[in-house]
């Protein structure tokens, strides 16, 4: 079965065609500058297995046009998908598993647009376009929030009146679930542990968004992101945790314009807001000796990760591993070293030399006497989505844990 996976960004469309059950990648690429015309022309970077990347220029005023271009390029290479997979950012409380996008599911998903007004609508538009042009091609949506469906109520509930929680679906959902699930399953396999007995803290540190996930016996029991991706760690341009009174002060200052406040918190805060220089922590680390602002930005970024690592190690109990993944987690040894220092109380100790000399993934960079492994694992969200599409269509949901089968151990005193 050829599964074509789409990952819809605000002005891009990433794709990957993978053949199952061999999990062989046949083609991949990315349509860039999708949407209104920009200074440079829209283009598709397209590559097939064993061949060089090609650049194909075309007008792509929306994601539907980009989809048409991708399908055209695949056809020219003699590649035909048997199923489509879509990364959907928000599945709310409704979608806790991958879902076949039939008429009813699409309607249900449309009802969640309010939860992710920036991310879900472009994907839905793409799903509609696919149904119109290829009505016989099955489409499966894989949700970033689904892995976190197992977070217990005491961790996902905000302490505000039930009436408002219910009316607007206000609760922690958690994000980056597809990536967390993928690296946790990989880490359990590498460790030789059955997933159902594997506990870890997974650190998805992207160059944009980032979150930590507490994993107990294979299932997610907490995630640093919350109702939206704003909560938790300090990210590239997102603020992470802030005092709610600050959001209210901003509303006062911006005369009640929620969109303006959201723009500041989403796009002008985080590493960029602190440093005033760059939203990329790699730039900041490079200049960290230069001035107080960059030093403070670097230390606040690292400290926030360390805080949640401590919190989640306490929650998980006996962790088997701390996992690092995505751009920063995989590529920046300095971040891994700074994050893991000073956790000997939990039995966690990094080997600085092994960490700096890392050249192939996956790898364990923990010191020999560390009780907890420190695994650096490459994430592959498209492969993870394709696997879930294949499993959904062939009804082979094995290895992963079904949230309905779970019972949480009692927390209380």
């Amino acid at each position: 079965m050829n599964v074509l996976v789409f990952n819809c960004g605000s002005s891009s469309l990433k794709y990957r065609l993978i053949t199952f059950p061999a999990e062989a990648e046949r083609a991949s690429g990315e349509a860039q500058r999708v949407g209104p015309q920009t200074a440079e022309p829209a283009r598709v970077y397209h590559q097939t297995a064993g061949n060089k990347q090609q650049v194909h220029y075309a007008d792509m005023p929306d994601h539907a046009a980009a989809f048409n271009e991708v399908m055209k390029l695949l056809k020219e290479d003699g590649l035909t998908p048997d199923a489509l997979g879509h990364r959907v950012v928000h599945g709310g409380s409704l979608f806790t598993q991958p879902a076949l996008m039939d008429q009813q599911s699409i309607l249900q998903l449309e009802g969640l647009n309010d939860l992710a007004p920036l991310h879900n609508p472009p994907t839905l538009k793409l799903i509609h376009q696919c149904r119109e042009l290829y009505p016989d091609l099955p489409q499966v949506a894989v949700f970033d929030t689904a892995y976190h469906a197992t977070i217990p109520d005491y961790a996902y509930t905000y302490a505000i009146p039930a009436e408002f929680r219910r009316r607007h679906g206000l609760r922690k959902y958690g994000f980056h679930g597809t990536s967390h699930q993928f690296v946790v399953e990989e880490a359990a396999r590498i460790s030789g542990c059955p997933l159902t007995g594997f506990s870890a803290v997974s650190c998805h540190l992207g160059s944009g968004g980032a979150s930590l996930c507490a994993v107990k016996n294979g299932y997610s029991m907490d995630n640093t992101m919350g109702f939206s991706p704003l909560q938790g760690l300090i990210m590239s341009t997102r603020c992470g945790d802030i005092d709610p009174a600050l959001t209210m002060s901003m509303l006062v200052y911006m005369q009640g314009e929620e969109d303006s406040v959201e723009k500041v918190l989403n796009r002008q805060s985080g590493v960029l807001g602190l440093s005033g220089m760059s939203g990329d922590i790699r730039d900041i680390l490079q200049d960290a000796d230069q001035d107080e602002s960059t030093r403070n930005t670097a230390s606040a970024y690292i400290w926030r990760i360390r805080k949640y690592l401590g919190a989640y190690l306490a929650v998980v109990g006996q962790a088997d591993a701390v996992i690092f993944t995505d751009t920063i987690g995989e590529q920046v040894a300095e971040v891994r070293e700074a994050v893991c220092q000073g956790f000997e109380c939990f039995g966690l100790r990094i080997d600085p030399e092994k960490n700096r000399a890392l050249c192939g993934l996956p790898a364990d960079v923990a010191a020999a006497d560390s009780r907890i492994k420190i695994l650096v694992v490459q994430t592959n969200e498209e492969l993870a989505i394709a696997r879930q599409v294949y499993q959904t269509l062939t009804r082979q949901r094995t290895g992963s844990i079904n949230s309905k089968e779970l019972t949480h151990e009692p927390l209380g005193t």
Partner: protein, 372 residues
């Protein structure tokens, strides 16, 4: 020295009179209806009259030698407790935007003290003073400060007096070797509960934020919450900041989870099914924050519970000890309850603060006696 300790709460002036050398108050109480039924001056006058009519015959007004006044927020301008001199009062006036509901009342109370107790030093005890020493990585928020009128926004923490005193008590009980910094997880169980990590007497982490709204959920306050929740409520309910503030500060926390007004103590001690979610949410958040405190200090030597519900620590302590990594004393308790009330903490520190002040201002003694 005989000490009168005063603490302002919404519409209430709490007081306690501590005779020289006594740890417990000779009399104490709460005057209600401040500013609604009673001016600050009349309230203070009535407190002093009560003393005169009670066991402390003709005592209080004449025998009050110093006044301790509790101040919720003083910003970074007040890194230590201070005697109210004209310069200090001017500085305090500049801090009013930090706590616009509280500081004007404090200023009014200082004036009343000068009027009714002329010549007696008024010592200001700041809850935020302890947290002016937080490291930058902990106090900084990752937001673009262009979005505010005040660019001095930072994290503070709001139970500095409890954390400092409880931390000291825990340190004493440890008998640490010289040169080794004690690592204390200080859990203050007040209506706004708060956790701090205190290493070598200095705070290195605290759950409270720029205001007491952040951190652990309280009896009526929300605690940590996604900014997206506020923006959604603002959009969907068409609420302004005042309505949001009322919801998050007065109708949230344990009250919202329990569906009725309830204290932190009741939630922690109850086995009532109606309180289960509230109890689990609070315990879980305490565990998370304790884990953060361990990250700040690479472990801990002692957990200490303080605040008006400090006794609930007898239930939380063993539970936390079981959840956290063992620290090599598995047969011994690694937690303790510090049940000293806030007013007593202030009264105990009076002499020291006055001594420090007189050392600093040895040549300007008159400034201590600033009055109308």
């Amino acid at each position: 020295m005989n000490r009168l300790v005063l603490k302002l709460e919404p519409n209430i002036l709490a007081y306690g009179f501590f005779p020289a050398g006594k740890e417990t108050p000779a009399f104490e109480g709460r005057m209600e209806g401040i500013r609604t039924d009673l001016s600050m001056g009349s309230a203070l006058d009535q407190i002093l009259s009560r003393g005169e009519n009670g066991d402390y015959v003709s005592a209080s007004r004449l025998l009050v030698e110093s006044v301790a006044l509790h101040v919720v927020a003083g910003g970074i301008s007040f890194p230590s407790h201070a005697v109210a001199t004209p310069a200090v009062i001017e500085n305090l006036k500049a801090q009013v935007p930090l706590a616009p509901m509280h500081l004007p009342l404090v200023l009014e109370l200082i004036e009343s003290c000068f009027w009714h107790l002329p010549g007696r030093p008024v010592v200001l005890f700041f809850e935020t003073a302890f947290f002016t020493k937080l490291p930058a990585c902990e106090y900084l928020y990752a937001i673009n400060t262009d979005a505010f009128t005040d660019s001095g926004i930072r994290r503070f923490g709001y139970h500095g007096l409890f954390h400092e005193a409880a931390g000291r008590a825990a340190e004493r009980s440890l008998e640490k070797q010289a040169g080794l910094s004690a690592r204390i997880v200080s859990i203050c169980l007040e209506p706004h509960p708060e956790i701090a990590a205190v290493k070598g007497g200095r705070p290195v982490m605290v759950s409270g934020g720029a205001t007491p709204l952040e951190g652990l959920p309280g009896q009526t306050s929300c605690g940590e919450i996604d900014s997206g929740v506020l923006l959604t409520l603002a959009r969907k309910e068409q609420w302004g900041p005042e309505q949001l503030n009322r919801l998050l500060a007065e109708q949230s926390g344990m009250r919202a989870l329990a569906g009725r007004p309830v204290t932190i103590e009741e939630v922690l001690l109850s086995d009532d099914a109606d309180l289960l979610l509230a109890k689990q949410v609070l315990e879980y958040r305490i565990l998370l924050r304790t884990g953060m405190a361990l990250a700040a200090m690479d472990g801990y030597d002692r957990i200490v519970f303080s605040g008006c519900y400090a006794a609930s620590g007898r239930l939380l302590g063993p539970w936390l000890q079981e959840k956290l990594p063992s620290i090599g004393t598995s047969n011994q308790s690694v937690w303790q309850c510090y049940e000293t009330p806030l007013m007593q903490i202030m009264a105990e520190q009076m002499d020291r603060v006055l001594l420090d002040h007189s050392k600093t201002y040895r040549h300007s003694h008159a400034s201590i006696l600033a009055g109308p």
